[in-house]
């Protein structure tokens, strides 16, 4: 009897990639130590998961425990909520390299379990934090400092459409060449924008030096402050693209608990409409915000993708010891 040798016990990353990851972790720790940013750890398992419509947290069933009032836990899709509670408690500037989990995401740039570098800077706005992200990323990758490009300008330039003022039907029409008429008609405005972003803007960004995409539409503000710029409301949210790869997502953070509650409720309504679980409202986060979240900016950066760029690989498996199908 012969059988196909099964190599699935072996790591998909080379030893050289594992060594690079260790060097990257040291680089990150040195970077923040020099800037007096405190390394912290927060729970990966908690009673609430992210409310974002498009992020699916992984559910965990808990055995009954004294003083724990829920039997349902969620693996965190980012350490954001807990880190904000530390900020409200007066922790000052903080960072962590966390394991994060997002259900249903597997591809050449995704694994359901991945590493996030997340940090918060009291007193910074989005511009200050972009400068720090640039220093960290471009210092490690030895690349020129990124350019800034507004979301609106990127869409004008590469999709020939104004993402803020175009009608819903005009956006849907732009999507038809990718998804066909039937699906295009079913897409919401934000889904159309996401489709054009990933099919038309990202490929264009591949040809550019590192680029910050900033000033997102208010409907995609998530946890960012908004303001009016050029007659439209923009979110103080930014993402860094290097070689077309989305590397981080940052906010000039919303600190208003009432507005945050309103956005969570809207998120939960959208989730219900999409047949996804209602994530409730993390009252401890809102209580922390009410007690006083300092004015700050924060960002989450994908460490696996940063390593992909460092090593010039196209497949995330080459930087993970064991991707989900081998874990």
């Amino acid at each position: 009897m012969s059988s196909t040798p099964d190599n699935s016990w072996k790591p998909t990353a080379s030893l050289a990639a594992l060594e690079s990851r260790a060097r990257q972790s040291s680089y990150v720790r040195d970077f923040f130590a020099a800037r007096n940013v405190l390394e912290v750890e927060t729970p990966a398992l908690a009673s609430h998961g992210a409310n974002d419509l498009n992020i699916d947290s992984l559910r965990v069933d808990l055995a009954p425990l004294p003083q724990v009032d829920t039997l349902k836990g969620w693996l965190q899709s980012s350490p954001e909520y807990h880190m904000k509670r530390l900020l409200a408690a007066g922790a000052g500037p903080i960072y962590q390299m966390a394991r994060a989990f997002r259900n249903g995401e597997r591809g050449v740039r995704h694994n359901p379990e991945f590493s996030l570098l997340e940090w918060y800077r009291p007193g910074f706005d989005d511009l200050d934090l972009m400068a720090e992200v640039a220093a960290l990323v471009c210092g490690w990758l030895e690349l020129p400092m990124p350019e800034r490009l507004t979301y609106r300008e990127a869409f004008r330039r590469y999709s020939g459409v104004d993402a803020f003022t175009a009608s819903d039907s005009a956006l849907a029409q732009k999507c038809e060449r990718w998804v066909g008429t039937e699906l295009a008609a079913r897409l919401s405005r934000d889904e159309c924008l996401d489709l054009l972003l990933s099919h038309e803007i990202e490929p264009a960004l591949r040809q550019l030096p590192p680029t910050f995409l900033c000033h997102y539409p208010a409907s995609q503000a998530a946890l960012a402050k908004t303001s009016v710029s050029e007659d439209v409301t923009v979110a103080h949210r930014f993402e860094l693209y290097v070689e077309g790869l989305e590397l981080c997502n940052g906010y000039w953070e919303l600190t208003d608990a009432t507005e945050q509650r309103r956005r969570f409720e809207l998120d939960n309504q959208s989730r219900q409409a999409a047949g996804k679980p209602d994530m409730g409202i993390d009252e401890r986060l809102l209580a922390a915000m009410e007690s006083g979240l300092p004015a700050c900016a924060g960002v989450a950066l994908g460490l696996d993708r940063l390593l992909m760029l460092k090593l010039g690989t196209r497949d995330i498996a080459e930087v993970l010891s064991f991707p989900v199908e081998r874990a």
């Binding site: 498009n54 249903g104 990718w178 066909g180 924008l193 996401d194 972003l197 990933s198 099919h199």
Partner: protein
Amino acid sequence: MASYSTNEFRSGLKVLLEGDPCIILENELVKPGKGQAFNRVKLRNLTTNRQWERTFKSGDSLEAADVIDQEMEYLYTDGEFWHFMLTDGSFEQYAADAKAVSDVLKWLKEQDVYVVTLYNGAPLSVTPPNFVELEVVDTDPGMKGDTAQGGTKPATLSTGAVVNVPLFITIGEVLKVDTRSGAYVNRVKS
């Protein structure tokens, strides 16, 4: 009818798209971190053989196409249909129309075994083996002495296929031909 959700998409899966059976060639997840996930899929339309690129919203599904590949022996043609028989011992026969055999016609030899793709139980296409052996029915006389130069000449095979062959090949010889490239491989000793 069964259907497949985008998270079940993988290469080789056969699905119905706009009424046509298609095979999935590639499937890529694209998702802005905070945004809607999409699957960018490359497919080949099995009816037209044309390649499509189409994006789906993650979580959507496509109906499965009742498409299966079966090994069958080619029996004969009556001029309108080309008749094949399952090699599994069942002797079950299938009639393929001109459209289904159009690509394979020049490699079709009685008693050879082909892969017949059935869609809803009827032959949709026929794929030849990678190599077939066919007899030369017409070619210019062999020119001795030119072999060193590696020159070639056209030769017509028993099925009507025309392939470029070395100058020493003569009528009546049996040749091994690569059906993927249409290239001569070697002479077969008979």
